[in-house]
Symmetry: C2
């Protein structure tokens, strides 16, 4: 993933994962449920796990296995990327939100 701070909104799914993990450690299933609460549908396994793999390979997220579940959490680098992405996100879409309520 890139998170250029320019004109690129291809990272929304990974962005949301990073944001959720900034709140608390979660398993893949928990992440899927949190996204479902917001988007209305659970991301499929074929969407979620490749994204988590990308985030791990980019050293933004790490995972600790215990039994059959893996608990994912942000790395220091992930926290920095999230902060930049948040700034970009709010600057890009802040007025859309303010407008909507």
């Amino acid at each position: 993933m890139r998170y250029k701070y320019g004109c690129d909104m291809r990272g929304m799914f990974s962005f949301q994962i990073l944001w959720l993990l900034s709140k608390r450690k979660m398993s893949g299933e928990e992440i899927a449920r949190e996204i479902a609460k917001r988007r209305g549908e659970k991301p499929k396994a074929g969407t979620l796990y490749p994204a988590l793999k990308e985030l791990r390979m980019a050293n933004m997220v790490n995972g600790v296995r215990s039994g059959r579940t893996i608990t994912y959490s942000l790395t220091a680098h992930g926290r920095i990327c999230l902060r930049h992405a948040l700034t970009y996100f709010c600057r890009s879409f802040g007025d859309v939100f303010n407008d909507a309520k």
Copy 2:
């Protein structure tokens, strides 16, 4: 463009175009400048015009040429799609935005 109301955030660029056009009619260049104000970078012609073409083919936007500029505006159908997309967007990312400020 699809605007399924499920788990799909691939339509952010088109979404932002629709939202901008809901404020006022604009040419392609004006749309690009408005996006630049928010995202920090002007979308390139190879990004913008294919997206506008898609929106026209989906009957969400129409364009009226006058000289060398085309003035784009929302169709009734575009307005309906935007309203649905706004609902989805706010439900998906409302807490991210509230959190950030």
